[in-house]
């Protein structure tokens, strides 16, 4: 076989070099890998939370209003932001930059709404007396186990840590999207898609944070 014939022959298969085996560019693959990695940070925190919760008396203090209502609306915001984000990516794939920018701004709006609601919720809990290192005094008496074991102040610790880290991700995501929106004309479609990946990932994490932190901690007055 001649040199050229051989060389031409090689790129045919995915894994033989000279091609992107996944048909995915560097940045997109890199973002996927980052997402894998970051998911593990969150997994470690959520597993740590579950570990501690399973070995302690855990308060279940969230009332329907404001906590559950707020967090549900927040979930709704994030889900909707994901929808607008796909629309943005979709528009960008059609080359419609104006639309794409509009949808990204919509995404940022929902993201910010999430942040604001979350901060209000934090503030509310803080004013109730919840701290990373202690529970409000009335929770302590209310959620003590029948045998007298006190509820764990780790509630506040895990709550603030996990939601805080998530909030940080939403915040950086919003900034990231703002940059993308601002520079949209100079960016390629793939860049928009990648920012979308990050944003959906933030949404995805919340899909675990919400049930584990909020739903599992609803005050149904069973005690």
């Amino acid at each position: 076989m001649s040199t050229e014939a051989r060389a031409a022959h090689f790129p045919a298969a995915d894994w033989d070099g000279g091609v992107f085996p996944y048909r995915v560019g560097h940045r997109k693959l890199g973002m996927w890998l980052f997402i894998v990695s970051d998911s593990l940070t969150f997994s470690a925190l959520l597993i740590g939370y579950s570990y501690l919760r399973a070995s302690n008396v855990w308060p279940t203090p969230f009332p329907f209003y404001p906590s559950i209502v707020f967090s549900s609306v927040m979930t709704f915001c994030l889900l909707s932001s994901s929808l607008t984000m796909v629309f943005a990516v979709s528009a960008s794939s059609r080359g419609d930059r104006a639309k794409a920018r509009k949808w990204i701004l919509g995404t940022i709006f929902f993201g910010l709404a999430f942040l604001v609601l979350h901060l209000i919720e934090w503030n509310h809990l803080y004013s109730e007396g919840l701290r990373p290192f202690s529970l409000p005094a009335d929770w302590v008496t209310r959620y003590a186990a029948p045998d007298g074991t006190l509820p764990s102040p780790l509630f506040g610790a895990t709550f603030f840590t996990i939601t805080g880290l998530h909030m940080f991700h939403v915040f950086t995501g919003a900034i990231y999207l703002a940059v993308v929106a601002a520079r949209l004309n100079k960016l390629k479609h793939e860049d928009v898609e990648i920012s979308g990946l990050y944003w959906h990932f933030v949404d995805l994490v919340w899909m675990f944070v919400f049930p584990l932190i909020y739903i599992m901690t609803v005050d149904i007055g069973a005690h």
């Binding site: 790129p11 000279g18 560097h26 693959l29 470690a44 925190l45 740590g48 701290r131 990373p132 780790l154």
Partner: protein, 619 residues
């Protein structure tokens, strides 16, 4: 598609200014060298600490006037206090594991040679690459500063061992060494996690997406497989440590109690009864150990895999013979990487972990010895029937095999739950991990340095000095670390500032002194290495493109390679990486880029490319 690949080419033109060229460089080669220099500095610090530790162990009460000036609290009047000794152990372990063995093999040599060996012009994300290095450097500066900061009372660094077990590390009031130094230690580790994680995703993307034409997976040099697997391990294990580190830092700074249980009583104060010791309750010290070792065990393979890769590569090159069982080697690397995630519990047998989990971990632990053994046998197979050229690089590679066997094999003792009862936290463990990590991995790096130095600097290192360095180091490390097994069997505990308290340890005194002397001699021999390194940069014999008659892509380009590695045209690969001694070929080595093998008369009509790595699974 190749259109897209080419888009990536020339993304950054060769810089001209000094700063962009050598300091904030985007060139993977410069960044690789920066990583190696970081490791060379870090290892000096680590070695100095190890000598101080040995002096204190064998001649307690030695006076070090300079220590007295530098650390008035830790070594008043130059005499080392126990807490200072322990902070040295902590810093020694941390610096060696993180800033030497996670930087040089992967960030250093990997960065420099992975793109070249797969025929790429740079890493996939040059800017990220630069960031990884600078983040790591910041981590190093933070950890160095840790030893100068302390709680209010005395100047000692963190005391926690490189494992930082909570609640000791989580309680600022748990004695000297738990002050600000510990905060800095944790922060440094967290920073390091971020740097490594970014580096890892860069490596993976580069390797998957940027292989040149013809460089199929099974034609990659084993070094690339090793770096790739290492990167996957780093990508998946560092985030878990990062999570744990955040929690530990919060325990210290925000008063949370993730790792701190209730009812603690420290220095006369019950937790929660005094503002100096706020209320902590409900946390689990074992949770920290899980999070740490979930990272920690993959980490030790992160430290050794690149060394294994380099060893395979160099053994084959200088035995002038293809790697024995290339496929088996790849599978073994992969198996080690995968199983490496299943065994972390073997560090926790006696931690109060569930005894049933311990049993499972134990059996999985011994299983991981199998791929390691397969690698060892294949190394021997590679040497078998070779025509070995004893260059310094080869000597170190052979030394690697010897030391890896010596160290790995005691893992089979430690890995059994029952036998870990007497062995845990004794010098037997210290011996085990120094032989595999402290020296086998380091030997891998030495081999890599001697082997690739001509490519990086265009000049050969001095072979006579190199051989001298090898002999002293090889014999030296056996003398340092083999007697430690015996100490462990007698029952000498680790992390003891002095052995004077115990009668049953008295019989070991001669060994302790012997080890210290050997350590000092070995460390002194490293001066030769450093000298050789610096001297050869300026005065070494000029190396051509391919001084070792090697086959892989880095030897097809100039030494040192031009900014874009291949001066404009990417190579095309036609065969596997280790085509030495091909019967009938003109030379005893066939480059990967050589399209046709010129068969001489002897050739029995056999196609010279049977080593193309496909082993018949294609076509």
């Amino acid at each position: 598609m190749s259109g897209e690949t080419h888009e990536a080419v020339h993304r950054h033109p060769a810089p001209t200014g000094f700063i962009r060229k050598y300091i904030f460089s985007l060139d993977h080669k410069v960044i690789g060298i920066q990583y190696i220099m970081l490791a060379l500095v870090a290892v000096l610090v680590g070695m100095t600490m190890s000598v101080l530790m040995r002096m204190n162990l064998s001649w307690p009460g030695t006076n070090w006037p300079i220590l007295g000036t530098l650390f008035p609290g830790g070594a008043p009047d130059g005499m080392m206090t126990p807490e200072f000794y322990l902070s040295l152990v902590t810093m020694h372990g941390t610096i060696m594991v993180f800033f030497v063995l996670t930087t040089a093999p992967q960030g250093g040599f990997g960065n420099y040679f992975l793109p070249i060996q797969i025929g790429a012009e740079d890493m996939a994300f040059p800017v990220l690459n630069m960031l990884s290095f600078w983040v790591t450097l910041v981590g190093f500066i933070v950890i160095l500063s840790a030893i100068f900061f302390s709680g209010a009372d005395s100047t000692v660094g963190p005391i926690g061992g490189w494992t930082g077990y909570a609640p000791l590390s989580a309680l600022p009031n748990a004695g000297p060494g738990q002050g600000m130094g510990m905060d800095l230690w944790i922060i440094s580790i967290a920073i390091f996690c971020v740097g490594s994680l970014l580096g890892a995703l860069n490596f993976i993307t580069t390797l998957l997406n940027m292989r040149t034409r013809g460089m199929s997976l099974m034609r990659m040099p084993l070094t690339c497989w090793a770096w790739f697997t290492t990167a996957v391990l780093a990508l998946l294990s560092f985030p878990v440590l990062l999570g744990g580190g955040i929690l530990l830092l919060l325990d210290r700074l925000a008063g949370t109690s993730f790792f701190i249980p209730g009812g603690l009583y420290l220095s006369g104060i019950l937790s929660g009864t005094d503002e100096r010791f706020p209320l902590h309750t409900g946390g689990s010290p074992i949770l920290w150990q899980h999070l740490f070792w979930f990272f920690g065990h993959p980490e030790v393979y992160i430290a050794i895999l690149p060394g294994m890769g380099a060893t395979s590569h160099i053994l084959s090159t200088f035995a002038r013979k293809p790697v024995f069982g290339y496929r088996a080697m790849v599978f073994a690397i992969f198996a080690i990487g995968l199983l490496g995630f299943f065994v972390w519990g073997h560090h926790m047998f006696i931690s109060g972990m569930s005894p049933y989990s311990a049993m499972t971990f134990s059996i999985l632990t011994l299983s991981i010895g199998v791929p390691s053994a397969v690698k060892t046998f294949n190394w021997l197979g590679t040497l078998w029937g070779g025509r070995i050229r004893f260059t310094t690089a080869m000597l170190f590679a052979i030394g690697f095999v010897s030391l890896f066997v010596a160290g790995g094999i005691t893992g089979l003792v430690l890995g059994q739950t029952s036998l870990d009862l007497p062995m845990h936290d004794t010098y037997f463990v210290t011996a085990h991990f120094h032989l595999v990590m402290g020296v086998a991995s380091i030997f891998g790096m030495f081999a890599a340095t001697y082997f690739w130095f001509p490519k990086m600097c265009g000049r050969l290192m001095n072979e006579s000095l190199g051989k001298f360095h090898f002999w002293i180091t090889f014999i030296g490390v056996y003398c340092i670390f083999v007697p430690m097994h015996t100490m462990g069997i007698v029952g000498m505990p680790r992390r003891f500032a002095q052995f004077t308290e115990y009668e049953y340890l008295k019989t070991l005194h001669p060994l302790v002194v012997f080890v210290s002397i050997a350590a000092i001699a070995t460390v002194l021999a490293q001066i030769v290495f450093y000298f050789n390194l610096v001297w050869s940069i300026f005065k070494g014999k000029r190396a051509g493109e391919n001084p070792w008659d090697a086959t892989t892509l880095e030897w097809t380009t100039a030494s040192p390679p031009p900014h874009d590695n291949f001066a404009g045209h990417l190579p095309v690969v036609y065969r596997g990486p280790y085509e030495f001694a091909v019967p009938g070929a003109a030379n005893d080595f066939v480059m990967q880029t050589e399209p046709e093998v010129i068969l001489q008369a002897v050739g029995s009509g056999r196609e010279g490319t049977s080593g193309n790595g496909h082993d018949g699974h294609r076509h």
